[in-house]
Symmetry: C2
Subunit: 242 residues, 2 copies
DNA sequence: ACAAAAGTGTTACACGTACACCCATGA
DNA sequence: TCATGGGTGTACGTGTAACACTTTTGT
């Protein structure tokens, strides 16, 4: 980055533009989780006005001296107690009247994780924090419904172009679990044999010398995924469609 | 959208949060063009401090009462005279010190067009406005280099997943032109026969009863593209890789 | 007739699809 | 031994990759 001469002219220029510097910036974190059955999203209940009592996506105002990417992690942790996880930026909403308190432009981030790993605990302005099935969601605060739908569209697209899903599953998983996850996200059914072939041919799965325990049928082999091979695939791009 | 009761409590709450409402929001518009030979990008030269004399991506501060999407069109028109074209939002940059005049978060938009259609004319703070070859770009204002690279990565990805490129070509074009465009964007070479087969099999191309004129070899058939079929493809997603 | 680029055809091979079948376990 | 889901194999059609060939124009 080039260093630029900061003159007193800049101070004057800033003064001239003061009326432009009245925006608030917020980050909203759409976190998807999977429990082996359903696709869920992490929500909070607002304990304060506006929209007190409404369900909302965890999000808050960014402070003047923090990077927005850092802010996404900080806010998610503040509201739900989840640790620093990787959040991917997906979209920015900037309609004029989307927030009743002033002009707030919000940057939306999203993440995927195995919901069995973390238990959310509400704090800051959140009175509740919990996972909720995607099909059970009603009215939401602000334009959060729209934001959620954008995130779902992103997930839909992404699952077909990247070997996602590993982030939603436990470290060791069976092919049937993986298939069920894909079927849940895309709301379709896949042929068992073909799903196995396709997934295995990508070489992202490392077979383990372990099997399931305590199931009343033939126990399934467990797999881990190969992060190196995963990176390669992400780089070159692919299309998953069965 | 639900109507929310606006109480005087909200006024107080806004007061309490005043220190958060000091952000500036800007939009930056990365416009790619194609002249039949090279992939180019629309740049302006800054006529004012900071970074006076530097090349920049057309962009400016958003006013308090305009939607950011509208702002992207307004700003592009103000600086370069280009008419309202569809701009797609791709990314938001929010590092703390990216702008020397204050905390400015910028939302990046991008567009593709046939550069022969419009001639840019500088106005507002732009002292120049012109097309420039992508490989001839040097130092840029702010973090615009980084922004440009993000837009190029987006274009790279997009061209492989959507029948793009039509936006960069004249309404009627030959398959060789289309192939050359793809080769330019992706920086690779394709087999002529296979490229034709693949493109035609997508059914997005409508053959016309016209041919090129005034070429000193067999004149090529002209095509238009089918917007309906295009939409279908965009919906279902596909992967273009030869 | 020649150069140059348009446009077509052929072949071998890889991959997707649909479907049938066998395997290991607990009850 | 039966039910249940795990796991494998095959046969067919479609799509891709590499390459050679024919066609149509201006000069």
């Amino acid at each position: 980055m080039t260093q630029v001469q900061i003159s007193s002219d800049l101070q004057a220029e800033r003064k001239r533009l003061d009326s432009f510097f009245q925006f608030g910036i917020s980050v909203d974190c759409v976190v998807f989780g999977y429990d082996g059955q359903n696709l869920q999203v992490l929500l909070v209940e607002r304990g304060v006005e506006p929209y007190a009592g409404f369900e909302a996506i965890p999000g808050d105002l960014v402070t003047l001296n923090e990077d927005i990417t850092q802010a996404s992690k900080r806010v998610l942790h503040d509201l739900t107690g989840l640790p620093d996880i990787y959040l991917e930026q997906i979209n920015t909403f900037g309609a004029v009247h989307r927030h009743p308190i002033g002009r707030v432009v919000t940057v939306v981030y999203y993440a995927l994780l195995d919901k069995n790993l973390y238990n959310p605990h509400p704090s800051s302005w959140a009175s509740e924090a919990y996972w909720k099935n995607l099909d059970a969601i009603g009215e939401m605060a602000f334009d959060h419904r729209q934001i959620l739908e954008a995130a779902m569209a992103h997930l839909h697209h992404k699952v077909q172009h990247q070997p996602i899903g590993f982030e939603l599953l436990p470290e060791e998983f069976t092919l049937a679990q993986l298939q069920h996850l894909y079927e849940t996200i895309l709301n379709t059914a896949f042929d068992k044999g073909n799903f196995r072939k396709k997934m295995l041919s990508m070489n992202v799965l490392i077979p383990l010398d372990k099997t399931q325990k305590e199931v009343r049928h033939r126990p399934a082999r467990l797999f881990r995924f190969d992060p190196k091979r995963y990176e390669q695939l992400v780089q070159k791009g692919f299309l998953f469609e069965l």
